[in-house]
């Protein structure tokens, strides 16, 4: 199923690019350079392994684009990063293309005995989170504030540069617990237990994607984004655990 979707996505992008470029240059197009939030690593690579990806915290990617990095597309885990670049004229109008939720993960061995998120308050815990400027780090602060648990930030032993680093530390047992996206938690479900965060405390996690203004391959970049917004692209995201947005919108 995944390989069929990937093939379809590649075919769609190549096809659109070929049509757009017919008569102007050879139909062999260079791969796009796609800067994407670390939480999109697995799903984007599976969808379209032919492109050049750079995965990191959205804040770091935003800085790189601001400094002139040669990206064609920017996919961020928070609207803040894309919207700031849009206001600066560095990306075209962003589109919301998917959503996510947060979860608390603990190692399978669960040395701190954490069963609910409220246990973070009452038990001695080595907690790992992402830095506040990283989207998942900001969302973590929101969750804790919404639940009246901001005090547990005093138990943070490490602030990571992206969600994959948080996931890795907990999966390897270097921390007792960490806040990640549900999609990242699923990817290591053989190594961690997932502690649910109540719906009422969930932050509004929305992903946005945009063509980078300086891209020299805008037609192909737009086609790639359209493929992500298509029914098949959205199905692939849902299969990876991402949440649908009512209708992908600008």
């Amino acid at each position: 199923m995944r390989s069929r979707l990937a093939l379809l996505l590649v075919a769609l992008v190549v096809g659109v690019t070929a049509v757009a470029g017919a008569g102007a240059r050879p139909t062999t197009t260079p791969p796009l350079t796609i800067y994407a939030a670390a939480s999109l690593t697995d799903v984007f690579r599976t969808l379209d392994p032919a492109q050049n990806f750079s995965f990191a915290g959205s804040n770091a990617l935003e800085t790189q684009i601001r400094n002139g990095a040669p990206a064609d597309i920017f996919a961020s885990a928070a609207p803040l990063n894309t919207q700031r670049l849009f206001r600066a004229g560095l990306v075209d109008k962003p589109v919301t293309f998917t959503a996510n939720r947060l979860a608390l993960i603990v190692p399978k061995s669960n040395p701190a005995g954490i069963r609910t998120i409220y246990d973070l308050r009452s038990k001695p815990v080595k907690l790992v989170v992402a830095a506040p400027a990283v989207p998942v780090g900001g969302y973590t602060i929101t969750v804790l504030r919404k639940m009246g648990l901001s005090s547990v930030l005093g138990k943070v032993v490490s602030r990571e540069s992206d969600v994959r680093a948080v996931t890795g530390k907990v999966a390897l047992g270097q921390a007792d617990a960490g806040f990640v996206y549900v999609t990242d938690a699923r990817a290591v479900s053989d190594q961690v237990n997932i502690v649910r965060i109540p719906a009422w405390a969930q932050p509004r996690v929305r992903y946005e994607i945009a063509v980078v203004s300086r891209s020299t391959n805008k037609t192909a970049a737009r086609a790639w984004i359209n493929a992500i917004l298509s029914a098949r692209g959205q199905t692939a995201l849902r299969n990876a655990g991402f949440l649908p947005v009512a209708k992908p919108t600008t």
Binding site: K146, G148, L149, S151, P198, W200, Q202
Partner: protein, 188 residues
């Protein structure tokens, strides 16, 4: 007017009044606990409004229940508005109904009795949380608001119970963890 009608009418009127009068947005410094109860209450108010809407749509409780269900829905919406104002006043971004996908077990509204039971279960948890807030929060005006919300929810529970032979559970204060766990199956 018999006692039953009198209580049903009072529940609606008092519910609306309680939610609309005691609160106006202010710049009070809200603690984490204040905001936590407000966030939970806001989600719960949306859940209650959704419940009343579904109960109205299903018609399981019969035409006599429609005014009670409508008043309940109005009260839930007014509670949501009061809590939205509280959160906005504290500088937070309140959730909207679009942030939730409520989950309704197939049996939840399958019969009149099941509908009443579901409603009373929700109202019991929400009232318990509001009582907990009224008992524990440090800011007086927040305590007054949550006490008013608890009274409104209690009146809704009384009105819903009167539609059958149900006896609402005795009101007890719940901490947020317990109230949240009680509603987890519905909040999605």
């Amino acid at each position: 007017m018999n006692r039953r009608r009198l209580l049903l009418a009072a529940a609606g009127v008092a519910g609306i009044g309680a939610a609309s009068s005691p609160w106006s947005p202010s710049a009070l410094a809200a603690t984490d606990d204040d905001l936590a109860y407000a966030n939970f209450g806001l989600a719960s108010s949306y859940l209650l409004a959704d419940f009343y809407g579904r109960a109205l749509q299903s018609g399981r409780l019969g035409p006599v229940a429609r005014p009670t269900l409508r008043r309940g829905r109005t009260a839930a919406n007014l509670q949501a508005r009061a809590l939205t104002d509280l959160l906005t006043g504290a500088g937070d971004t309140p959730a909207t109904t679009e942030d939730f996908t409520f989950a309704w077990p197939t049996t939840a509204l399958a019969t009149a009795a099941a509908t009443r039971r579901t409603g009373l279960t929700l109202l019991h948890a929400v009232r318990g949380a509001y009582q907990g807030a009224a008992a524990t929060l440090s800011e007086t005006s927040y305590r007054v608001l949550f006490a008013s919300l608890a009274a409104s929810v209690a009146e809704q529970a009384g009105a819903l119970a009167l539609l059958g032979a149900d006896v609402p559970p005795f009101p007890v204060a719940l901490d947020l963890e317990a109230a949240s766990a009680a509603l987890e199956a519905y909040l999605g």
